[in-house]
């Protein structure tokens, strides 16, 4: 837990819109949360819930057009990133805030060696000669567990496996000692053993570098393993935000509870039919006026159809929840 430690990143009422053929879609609608220095936060939700767009917004990488950050503030150490000019933003990217992506196969430039790309990043942000940058890059590759880093550095991305490439991405992302790492499904494209290794790597490096991590994932198991706090998103907004233990043991939002219920448990006596959340995610073009989860929710009442619940403060060791009728915490 990082209670009391200083707030590193504070997102307030973020709204991101995409212009589509059918009309304007709000992929992120009024998202607010804080990230404290040094903590690991999981940003969880199903595909299309806006978690990746939220991550991209922090570095202002939402593709524009068609995307647009329509409203909100993203304060990083008290400075609103949305007010910076492109030059100032470039200085922050890869240096104070880094991001790694889902697809290690395509995320690196195929026509330059990994060394060349790492040296560029280092020299963009630190005063280094080419030789110093190369030494630093080799050191970083060694840290992320690449064997023979002095040889590997001169290889091209296509000569490395997926897991290796993701390690290179991590090495590149951490090379300038960022305060915040945004990891967008860093292990989704990897096989299970590699996933575990890459996750361990992120966790151990996080301790070494004392940075905060926002881990964007749909995998609740991963969140339970590495995060101290989780933010659950549904349909463009945050539905629950809290520390791992209460969130996993006593989820208060019906959606979180539904998600947790639908994780298969191998140790159960027999594998029955997996519980599912009934219904479909609403169309982002035709969002209901009330709670977006209302038509799938067993606890929905009249008020849930009429107005949107706001995220509460979550006082007293409970999770913060955006629900008119949250599940009661059993004492």
């Amino acid at each position: 837990m990082s209670d009391g430690s200083e707030i590193l990143l504070s997102i307030r009422d973020l709204r991101v819109e995409f212009a589509t053929e059918q009309g304007v879609v709000r992929a992120v609608d009024g998202v607010s949360f804080d990230v404290h220095a040094g903590e690991t936060v999981g940003l969880v939700g199903e595909s299309g819930c806006g978690k990746t767009v939220t991550g991209l917004s922090i570095l202002r990488l939402v593709p524009c057009p068609p995307g647009r950050i329509a409203a909100g503030q993203i304060e990083f150490r008290g400075q609103d990133l949305l007010q910076l000019d492109t030059r100032q933003m470039r200085d922050i990217r890869g240096s104070r805030i880094s991001m790694i992506f889902q697809e290690p196969m395509t995320a690196l430039n195929p026509v330059f060696t990994i060394g060349n790309q790492m040296v560029d990043v280092l020299r963009d942000h630190e005063k280094m000669t080419r030789r110093q940058a190369r030494t630093a890059a080799i050191e970083m590759l060694d840290k992320v567990g690449i064997p023979d880093p002095a040889v590997r550095i001169d290889e091209y991305p296509h000569q490395l496996s997926g897991g290796m490439r993701q390690r290179v991405m991590i090495a590149m992302a951490l090379s300038c000692g960022p305060e915040l790492l945004i990891a967008d499904e860093p292990t989704t494209a990897l096989d299970v053993t590699t996933q575990a290794q890459v996750l361990d790597q992120i966790v151990s490096l996080q301790e070494e570098f004392q940075m905060a991590v926002i881990l964007i994932t749909h995998d609740l198991g991963v969140v339970a393993e590495v995060c101290s706090r989780a933010i659950v998103m549904y349909c463009g907004s945050v539905v629950e935000n809290g520390s791992i233990e209460p969130l996993f043991e006593q989820p208060r939002h019906p959606y979180t509870a539904g998600l947790l219920n639908s994780i298969p448990r191998i140790r159960d006596d027999r594998l029955g039919k997996l519980p599912v959340i009934e219904g479909m995610v609403p169309d982002l073009l035709q969002l209901p006026a009330g709670c977006r989860f209302a038509d799938r929710c067993g606890r929905a009442g009249a008020i849930c159809i009429e107005s949107r619940p706001q995220l509460n403060d979550g006082a007293g060791g409970q999770t913060a929840v955006a629900c008119f009728n949250p599940i009661d915490v059993q004492q």
Binding site: L59, L61, P63, P65, M89, R90, D91, I92, R93, G94, S95, S98, M99, F101, E103, T106, A107, L108, N109, P110, V111, F112, T113, D120, V121, D124, H125, Y156, H158, M169, M172, A173
Partner: protein
């Protein structure tokens, strides 16, 4: 070493291509091309005279024998003399190919450079008015016939109705100033016609590269725009660009620009080829066809080697 081995292999593999192209072209030339016999004879020739001219032209030989002779000519690069002017084909080509190259190069280079430039502006401002304007203008440019463009440019720049700045026809080049005055209007016409297609082609290539994951990664690491363009976008677009540019070289060098040369009365290889086709001047045609095929093989080799140079994933095996 790798490149040398590859080149030798590729050149040997190119021989069937050259043979195929020349065989088909020669077949068409012999059975469907004009017959030169009666052009060379006077009025009322005797059967003996006809016989003799046909023997001189080699028309009396069986087709395969004539084709074998042709292959031998290609191998030795000795195509004999033109049947129209009597000039040696080699000296004819040596005289006209440089003219064609000098004529077409500025337009070729400018057409591609400007194409990339406009494509960049359009691609970087996708969906904006600048993009729409450039794409609209290139569609208009593509739709205007080359002939109309040539005539329009001649009227605008070379006639008394227009600016009257440049000569309408001819190629009387003795200095760089002469060169500029003769090459400007053809160049403008070529660029005008090529630009629309080039811009659309390059825009598609650049837009495709701009939306790649590695471009987003580079942005996420604070890469300055100039390097993002050079290292991520341009370097990765080189394969389609090289393909397009290098494969146009054989046309540019050998066939020249047939329309340009005939409309501007420029004695380049395109005009020579055109005259040879209409008059059935087989030695010249044989040389042009053979050289074009050979240049294609070379262009193919060159593209492969350049691919290797820009993309480490390509291996020459």
């Amino acid at each position: 070493m790798e490149i040398l081995q590859y080149s030798v292999r590729k050149l040997i593999a190119g021989i069937p291509l050259v043979l195929g192209v020349t065989f088909i072209s020669f077949l068409l030339m012999v059975y469907f091309g004009p017959d030169k016999t009666y052009e060379l004879l006077g009025k009322n020739p005797t059967p003996e005279q006809i016989e003799e001219v046909r023997r001189e032209l080699g028309y009396d030989q069986p087709f395969l024998t004539r084709y074998a002779l042709y292959v031998q000519e290609i191998a030795t690069l000795n195509f004999g003399s033109s049947e129209s002017s009597g000039e040696l084909v080699s000296s004819l080509l040596a005289r006209t190919i440089p003219v064609s190259i000098a004529l077409i190069t500025p337009g070729f280079v400018l057409g591609n450079l400007l194409g990339v430039l406009f494509a960049l502006i359009a691609a970087y401002h996708r969906g904006s008015w600048a993009d729409k304007f450039i794409m609209g203008a290139s569609a208009v440019g593509m739709s205007i016939s080359f002939l109309i463009a040539i005539i329009a440019f001649q009227i605008i720049f070379s006639s008394n109705f227009g600016l009257g700045l440049f000569p309408v026809r001819g190629w009387n080049v003795h200095s760089f100033g002469d060169y500029l005055s003769y090459v400007t209007v053809p160049t403008l016409a070529t660029v005008f016609v090529a630009l629309g297609y080039n811009t659309r082609f390059y825009r598609a290539v650049i837009v495709e590269e701009m939306t790649r994951d590695h471009v987003r990664t580079a942005k996420a690491f604070g890469t300055p725009p100039a390097r993002l363009f050079y290292k991520n976008i341009l370097k990765n677009s080189m394969i389609p660009i090289i393909t397009r540019v290098v494969f146009s070289i054989p046309f540019v060098v050998i066939s020249g620009s047939l329309l340009i040369e005939s409309y501007f009365g420029i004695p380049g290889v395109g005009k020579v080829t055109f005259d040879a086709i209409t008059s059935g001047d087989q030695p010249v045609l044989k040389a042009v066809v053979g050289l074009t095929a050979a240049l294609f093989v070379l262009a193919q080799l060159l593209t492969d080697i350049l691919y290797r140079a820009v993309d480490p994933r390509v291996s020459l095996t």
